[in-house]
């Protein structure tokens, strides 16, 4: 008897939970509201079936439970009843399947006016490519992939020259403009999901898959990888920003073309030296850093990493958190670098600096963190701590240990890496959480010192 009551409570509880709990779809921000309607329809049809079957069980248990003198009815089958039930089920199934198939036809056919954007996924980050003025994306091949041509664009293909390169996890889209996302991976399977867009699709290396959507609400949305792609899977976060037409046009105009990224490789060391004059007051003339000023050693620091951080400081992505005292000191300094080429130049100059011997200032037990380093940190920063460019992970071996400890503290405390546009920072922040306390941080830094 209690089974009847408990079963009834669970079934009614399920219905109440569905209607009363605050947990449901995110507010939709694309054209796929018909997809939400099919979900609602399926909830209605299956919900009725679920409640009907279970309430019938409850009824049977109460009515036909064993009592003195009860005897079951002998009735092997009823073809009529079974046929009716089968027919009714078939109608219910068809009612759910038919709309599904009609909408699926739309899912698989992007509209003619859809703009094509290539999304490149690889462990564990995102970059994007927009067709340039010619409206065509240039040819690509994994064999062209290098640190200077991270998207692997064929340098000999004229269509590729004007392609717009977004080597950053943040993509902007124009509101009410349908987009076909061409999904390309150069390493393993990944997946493109913006929960508010509803549609999603996997990336498969060796081919290009696609999915389309028309974002219809201005806003900023999380981009997630939803196909297991290794240790960093859960931290492979990106961002899609839906702009009005004007903002979008401004953003696009700011992005470099493939030709720009290739020509930027020539730099002016002399200009860099001039630019560095201000930096040297804290970071030292040899780029050796100054612990008392909380200015880390720059000599030997990863170039791409430095450029990205300078851009972030300039744009207020880093160095704006109120508890980030030293980041806030750095931010106005970065402002003195006028543009992208000034950043290129100063980084090129820093690359020539000798630095000084790194001092070991953090005491910890490297043995206690070796396993975590190898299973987790090494996935991006390398077993030898020298960094892996495809994952955008800087070398650690030329960093001051006190600086690493300070930044790990900032990451863990959410002082760094929580700005909407700092997706690599978010990634590091998520991974730094595997260090459960300050002692674990010190042990980890001590281990990195041994590399």
């Amino acid at each position: 008897m209690s089974i009847a009551i408990v079963l009834l409570v669970l079934v009614l509880g399920t219905v109440l939970f569905h209607f009363l709990s605050p947990w449901y779809f995110t507010p939709i921000a694309s054209n796929w509201s018909a997809m939400d309607d099919t979900v609602t329809l399926t909830f209605i049809v299956t919900g009725i079936g679920f409640v009907a079957v279970n309430v019938f069980i409850v009824y049977c248990v109460i009515k036909f439970r064993n009592k003195e003198g009860r005897r079951a009815k002998y009735e092997p089958e009823s073809v009529k009843l079974e046929s009716w039930l089968t027919g009714l089920t078939t109608v219910g199934i068809a009612a759910m399947l038919a709309p599904g198939l009609f909408i699926w036809a739309e899912v698989v056919t992007p509209p003619d006016d859809a703009m094509e954007i290539e999304v490149l996924a690889r462990q564990w980050n995102w970059s994007y490519r927009l067709p340039g003025a010619d409206g065509e994306l240039g040819a690509v091949d994994v064999s062209h992939t290098t640190a200077d041509n991270p998207l692997g664009i064929d340098p000999t293909d004229p269509f590729g020259r004007d392609d717009i390169i977004i080597y950053d996890p943040v993509l902007h889209l124009e509101v009410d403009q349908p987009v076909t996302f061409l999904l390309r991976s150069t390493d393993v399977l990944h997946n493109f999901t913006v929960p508010q867009f509803r549609v999603k699709m996997d990336f498969v290396p060796g081919q290009v898959s696609y999915i389309w959507a028309e974002p219809n609400k201005v806003g900023s949305y999380d981009l997630l990888c939803e196909e297991l792609c290794g240790v960093g899977h859960y931290a492979m976060r990106g961002r899609v920003v839906v702009d009005d037409a004007e903002t979008y046009a401004r953003w696009t105009a700011d992005q470099p073309t493939f030709a720009d990224t290739q020509s930027a490789l020539s730099t002016d060391l002399l200009a860099g030296q001039t630019g560095y004059a201000l930096c040297s007051s804290c970071h030292g003339a040899d780029g050796e850093g100054n612990a008392a000023m909380h200015a880390p050693r720059l000599a030997g620091m990863d170039s791409e990493y430095m450029k990205r951080q300078l851009r972030h400081f300039k744009r207020g992505v880093r160095g704006t958190h109120e508890d980030d005292v030293w980041g806030r000191t750095m931010a106005p300094m970065a402002m003195t670098l006028a543009d992208a080429s000034a950043i290129e130049n100063v980084v090129a100059y820093i690359n020539t600096l000798p630095g000084a011997e790194l001092a070991q200032t953090i005491a910890g037990d490297p043995g206690k963190s070796a396993a975590l380093y190898k299973s987790t940190c090494a996935q991006c920063h390398g077993d030898d701590g020298r960094g892996v460019w495809t994952v955008n992970a800087p070398a650690l071996t030329d960093l001051d240990d006190w600086y690493m400890a300070e930044q790990l503290h900032n990451f863990r405390a959410g002082i760094r890496g929580r700005h909407d546009d700092d997706l690599y920072g978010l990634q590091m922040g998520l991974l730094s959480n595997t260090l459960v306390d300050d002692e674990a941080v010190n042990n980890m830094v001590a281990y990195i010192n041994t590399l």
Binding site: V6, S21, W23, F25, M35, T38, V39, T42, T46, F50, V53, F56, I57, C60, V61, F64, R65, A72, K73, Y74, E75, P76, E77, T86, T90, I93, M96, L97, W104, V107, R122, V142, L183, D187, V188, L189, R198, D202, V204, G206, Q207, D222, L224, E226, L228, C229, G230, V231, H233, Y234, R237, L372, S375, V391, R418, L426, G429, L430, N433, A440
Partner: protein, 586 residues
């Protein structure tokens, strides 16, 4: 109108086969270790499956602890988490459920229920278990090799499964593939045995349409497995070759961790097709025996014939056949040609029709029955709740459009746990309690059993129902943690914590269950030979537990179907299958 017993007949074909020569062990080793008696092999299979299943249960606790309280436990890092996810899934699906239903229940019940003395190839049957045992050892070994076990997810998708960046991409994945290949070899030995025994060794009068549904379920599942496992076998071999010999079956040209890998031209989707060509029938390899067994549990404990026996048999066969043409519904968002979606959505939703019919016939068996709320019956009712719930969410995921926003989220995890984890486990528990008195000759402890039931029943529902809604909100599966998003409310984390608490309680109840099984085998009250007043042959044996050779001097002769309960005109509310019609005895 006068009721007549269904399919009762006085005609019994003469025996076609002579009595089989029974194997007689001469040593202790031959009797308990390399034993050829299907009943001993069944217990060996079940014990091994439950032991490795216990490991998988503990792995799930680690996953749940991490998800509820991220970054609190220093021993759970992202790599370890993925390894736990992978091993939990693979062990539960293949090494526990498949081995337990077919190797365990199949071995114990097939000869007894069809009226045979043993399996037709006893020696092969013995080898089958030891090959399975070797597969389990290989699997266990992968926990201890350098780099640890594989963390590629139980689907083992390449390229990542064999590339740096995924845990266990060196020795771990190779041991996993080797273990699967060995498992399949062992299973094939056992599986051929089950099929041939059902087809050839049924006792006189046991026509196919008089077989209990338990046997129909196990038989059809075995046939499915014999067709499906080869696809997994070849993919395991092909992936091993990609690792060991540098072939490119599944490996296109890629840049892995900054350097170009030495592969070209392979296709990762080929693996997915092969995997799911196995993987979808695998769902039914687990489900069909559960369908069969639960039919018998409901019938026996409701004292009523299973409603619509013929349709139930055909539904099992049709579901089994359809399970081979639905596999790509696991791949709607895989990057395969999306036009396949039309075909696979249609076939998948068609499967729901025979499946729904089975549900109707189960509940119609309860209707106008005489329901004894024994522990096996409680588990059967619990099965219905979980199966109906999980079946309904299958209609979301099988329909390509509806599934798209839900794919790769916790909704999927909740769905398949409801339908192919908790639901079959309810049947496993019910079945173990049901046959325990026959297998051990003793009663299980009723108090512990009731505690086990209520905790598992309510607890599992509290684990998996809210999980669907985390998925609907957009929480992806296989995420080590999900902080740092802008779309998830803080309360989502509270849901995760409550799921974990329920899961830990349910996990504890399983320990009580295992304790009950072991304790009662020694201390339980002595049980009679047919305590449930059931009709099928295993309850009519001369000895309890049945001895070697199952039946006494003569094999039973079958005169009727397996469901003569509450037949009008009979004083008892059951007529065993081997009772001749009155016309013969009168």
């Amino acid at each position: 109108m006068e009721h007549t017993a269904h399919d009762e007949s006085s005609f019994v074909r003469p025996a076609e086969m002579g009595e089989m020569e029974l194997y007689h062990p001469k040593t202790w080793l031959g009797k308990y270790v390399f034993c050829q008696d299907a009943k001993v092999i069944a217990i060996q299979y079940a014990a091994t499956a439950l032991a490795i299943g216990l490991v998988a249960l503990v792995l799930s606790w680690f996953m749940r602890l991490q998800l509820a309280w991220p970054n609190t436990f220093s021993f759970i890092d992202p790599a370890y988490y993925l390894q736990a996810v992978t091993m939990h899934g693979m062990i539960m699906v293949v090494y526990l459920l498949t081995a337990l239903f077919l190797g365990g229940f199949g071995n114990y019940l097939i000869p007894l229920m069809v009226g045979a003395r043993d399996m037709v190839f006893p020696w092969l049957n013995m080898v089958s278990f030891w090959v399975y045992f070797t597969a389990v050892l290989l699997l266990t070994a992968s926990f201890f090799v350098g780099g640890g076990s594989t963390g590629a997810g139980w689907t083992l998708y390449p390229p990542q499964a064999i590339l740096p960046g995924t845990p266990g991409s060196q020795a771990g994945i190779l041991l996993m593939l080797a273990s699967l290949a060995v498992f399949i070899i062992g299973f094939t030995m056992g599986g051929l045995n089950y099929v041939v025994t059902v087809l050839q060794a049924r006792t006189r009068g046991m026509s196919l349409m008089r077989m209990p549904l338990t046997i129909w379920g196990i038989f059809t599942a075995t046939v499915l497995a014999l067709f499906a496992f080869p696809a997994l076998f070849v993919s395991a071999i092909m992936m091993s070759l990609d690792v060991l010999l540098g072939t490119s079956f599944f490996m296109p040209a890629i840049v892995s961790m900054g350097s170009e890998a030495e592969h070209v031209g392979g296709n990762p989707l080929l693996f997915q097709h092969l995997f799911w060509f196995f993987g979808h029938p695998e769902v039914y390899i687990v489900a069909l025996p559960a369908f069969g067994i639960v039919s018998d549990l409901i019938s026996v404990h409701a004292r009523k014939n299973i409603f619509g026996y013929r349709m139930m048999v055909w539904a099992i066969v049709i579901i089994g056949a359809l399970s081979f043409v639905v596999w790509a519904h696991h791949m709607y968002v895989s990057g395969m040609n999306p036009y396949f979606g039309f075909f696979f959505a249609t076939t998948t939703l068609i499967v729901a029709i025979p499946t729904a019919l089975k549900v109707y016939n189960w509940v119609l068996t309860l209707w106008q029955g005489n329901i004894h709320l024994t522990t096996p019956m409680l588990f059967a009712i619990a099965f219905l709740l979980f199966f109906v719930n999980g079946g309904m969410t299958g209609l979301f995921l099988g329909n390509s459009t509806v599934s798209m926003p839900l794919s790769d989220t916790l909704f999927v995890v909740a769905h398949f746990h409801m339908v192919m984890a908790v639901a079959p486990v309810m049947v496993v528990c019910g079945a173990i309690y049901h046959w325990y008195p026959k297998i051990s000759g003793r009663w299980y402890h009723e108090g512990m059993a009731k505690f086990h039931f209520w905790t598992t029943f309510v607890g599992s529902y509290l684990v998996f129902l809210p999980m669907h809604y985390l998925g609907i909100m957009g929480v992806p599966r296989r995420y080590f943690e999900i902080t740092g998003t802008t779309f998830l409310p803080e309360s989502a984390h509270a849901v995760n914590a409550s799921i974990t608490i329920a899961a830990l309680v349910v996990g504890f109840a399983q320990l009580v269950f295992l304790f009950n099984l072991i304790w009662s085998a020694f201390k339980g009250e002595k049980a009679p030979g047919n305590p449930w007043n059931a009709t099928t042959l295993e309850w009519q044996t001369e000895h309890t537990p049945p001895q070697h050779g199952n039946f006494g001097k003569d094999l039973p002769c079958v005169y009727r179907w397996a469901y003569d309960y509450s037949v009008p005109g009979h004083e008892d509310d059951f007529v065993p299958q081997n009772v001749p019609p009155r016309s013969m005895t009168a």
